[in-house]
Every structure is written in structure tokens, then in C-alpha cells.
Symmetry: C2
């Protein structure tokens, strides 16, 4: 029998570079998979059901809500987005770690529903660097940048809800830090037994 | 200002090899010191006050109890043994990790009194190996070995009280595992801030 995998909850403000860190981490670890969200929005060209999202109808989504199969869900611009529990449970039982890249409110709900998790907050080295990165994209109006920066500051203030705080000064270092955390967490007594 | 050090509580059954692991760990890390116990027994030849033990009179020891300066204490064959808090606090405030190698009952008291700790249980790979190691010393009577083995089994049953479970199959690996745990724990949010 496989040892049960770990549920890794990972959040961080816009501009912290978590997307790159997650991609690099997943490319190195075949014991870890990314959780796939479910949505009622239509697939965009190239998007594959079960890979990018689980694409479902509104009725199907609402049935999942009724069956309590969603760890969390929200509605944006008329579409539902949510985190389905059954595929996560399957992966965990198969011994895979499941990485959930999720915004702060959703993370909070998952932490409450799944107490056995590893929570990691990814932070930019400083607000100055975060601002540089948001500006560096060079494509946004000042107003958009200001709004994102304020949102990022609010998100930074939620870091205390996560067990681990990983500074993303360099992608390579950030990935190594997360791997160290996973190695340590796999030595927790309740996971060894 | 230094970042506060971590209090590392380390236990394990007789024969698990924790003494060797601790010695090797300390030789590699100048950020980590071993907690020194206080005792009322007389120094043996070569024992240095403040290094091997803090040697104190019974009156001095009882004053420490009165002042609530001992994290835990016990009495064996007419002598007191205890873990003094003030030197530990000094080291932690100076940014050093303090390693407390302590038996199970004492560990429990320290965990309750100092909730911000890192607890590690060192285990032999199996009871068979533990028995081999206890027998391997070759100097003990069968009765003594049986008694130690039973004590070790009872101690193994307390492993669930510790956050981490480190198997000492090889000293080098066990030391690396503890270093991984310390690296991860130093990324805990409450220690980063």
C-alpha cells in the first residue's frame, strides 16, 4: 500500500512569482500533481477537460455543491469556479502529493475542511520588488498597477495563516525551500505511521 | 538583532543511537548548542561545571524550584536532576538553537511549558535492530537486556507525542534528516517574522 500523499496549499500575492515556482517544482517531482479546478465557463482554444479545468455545466456544478464535493467555490462574472475533492482524494490515496495553488479566501476554506495539509505562503522579497515586478510587465495602466499593488499588500497581510513562509528571491532557491519543507513534513509522525 | 533560536526537544529509546546523532549534529552546526542539565550529585573526575552539568547544592536546587526556573526535574538515587530555563532563554535570545536531549516524561513537561518547540523522536529502524544493538554491547546480563528492551518498547509507544519521527538507520542519514527538519522549521511564519 502507498503512503498517503500530502495536500499542499500554496498561495501568494499577484507578482510574487508563484506560477513559475509551481511549474518548476512540478517538473522536478513526479510524486506531486497540481489540483485541477472545476468551472462552468467554456473551454478556450487548446484547453483540455481534466487538464486545465474540469469543464461542467451549471447544473452539474450545482449537483457537486449539493453532494458537498467542493472544498470551496466562488462565482466570477457569471461563472462558477471550484476545487473538487474527489480527484484530490484519489491522488492522495494513490500516494501522490496534491498541490493546490489557490487564492487566500479559498485557501482558508480548504485549511478548515482538510486539517491535514501543508500550507505555504510565497512572498516577494519586498513590496518594492513586488512593485517592480508588477510594473516590469510594462503593459498595464498606472491605475491597474496601483490596484494590484494594494491587493498584493492585503494578501501579504494574510501570510500568518500559513504554516510556512517562503521568500521567492530566486526561483531556484524558492523551489529548494519548498522541497525542504516537503521532506520535513513527510517525517511528521502522523505521516510516517 | 538576532532571530530567536529554536528549542529542539529530542528523545528516543535506549539503543536508538541518539547520543551519536546528537554529537554529530552539534559538530556540524555552530548555531546549535546542547542544553546543560543541573544536578545535585557530585562531579565525577573530569566533569566541568557548566559543560557537563551545572553542579549545585540541594539548597540551591530547591531555590531554583521555588523560583520556577526548572522546566522539569526529577530525583534519582537521592540526587536531583533538572533542566534550567534561564540559560536556555539566554541562548535562544542570542539566536542559538538549543537542543534538549531528554527522556520521555521530561520531554512532555517541556513541551507543555514551551509550546514553541521542535520535537523529534529518534527511532531505531526496527525492534530487531534495537535488540541487536542492545545485545551488541555484549557486556550486559540477559536480564538487563530484557529490561532495557521492554523499556525501549514502552518508549517507542510515546513517539506519537513528537512532531517528527526520524529513523536512525544510518547516523549520516539521521543527521541529514534532522537538518532538513530544522531548515523547514526555520521557514515557519512565526519564526520568520
Amino acid at each position: 500500500m502507498n503512503k498517503r500523499g500530502m495536500l499542499i496549499i500554496l498561495s501568494g500575492p499577484s507578482g510574487c512569482g508563484k506560477g513559475t515556482v509551481v511549474k518548476e517544482l512540478l517538473s522536478r517531482r513526479d510524486d506531486t500533481v497540481l489540483s485541477v479546478s472545476v468551472t462552468t465557463r467554456s473551454p478556450r482554444p487548446g484547453e483540455v477537460d481534466g487538464t486545465h479545468y474540469f469543464f461542467r455545466t451549471k447544473e452539474q456544478f450545482e449537483e457537486m455543491i449539493q453532494r458537498d464535493e467542493l472544498l470551496e467555490y466562488a462565482s466570477y462574472s457569471g461563472n462558477y469556479y471550484g476545487t473538487p475533492l474527489p480527484p484530490i482524494e484519489e491522488w492522495l490515496n494513490a500516494g501522490k502529493n496534491v498541490l493546490l495553488e489557490i487564492e487566500v479566501q479559498g485557501a482558508q476554506k480548504v485549511m478548515e475542511r482538510c486539517p491535514d495539509h501543508v500550507s505555504v505562503f510565497i512572498a516577494a522579497p519586498s513590496l518594492e520588488v513586488l512593485e517592480q515586478r508588477l510594473r516590469g510587465r510594462g503593459t498595464e495602466a498606472e491605475e491597474v498597477i496601483e490596484r494590484r499593488l494594494n491587493a498584493a499588500k492585503e494578501e501579504m497581510a494574510t501570510a500568518e495563516r500559513y504554516r510556512y513562509y517562503v521568500v521567492n528571491d530566486e526561483v531556484e532557491l524558492a523551489v529548494q525551500r519548498i522541497e525542504t519543507i516537503l521532506a520535513a513534513e513527510s517525517m511528521c509522525y502522523h505521516r510516517m505511521k
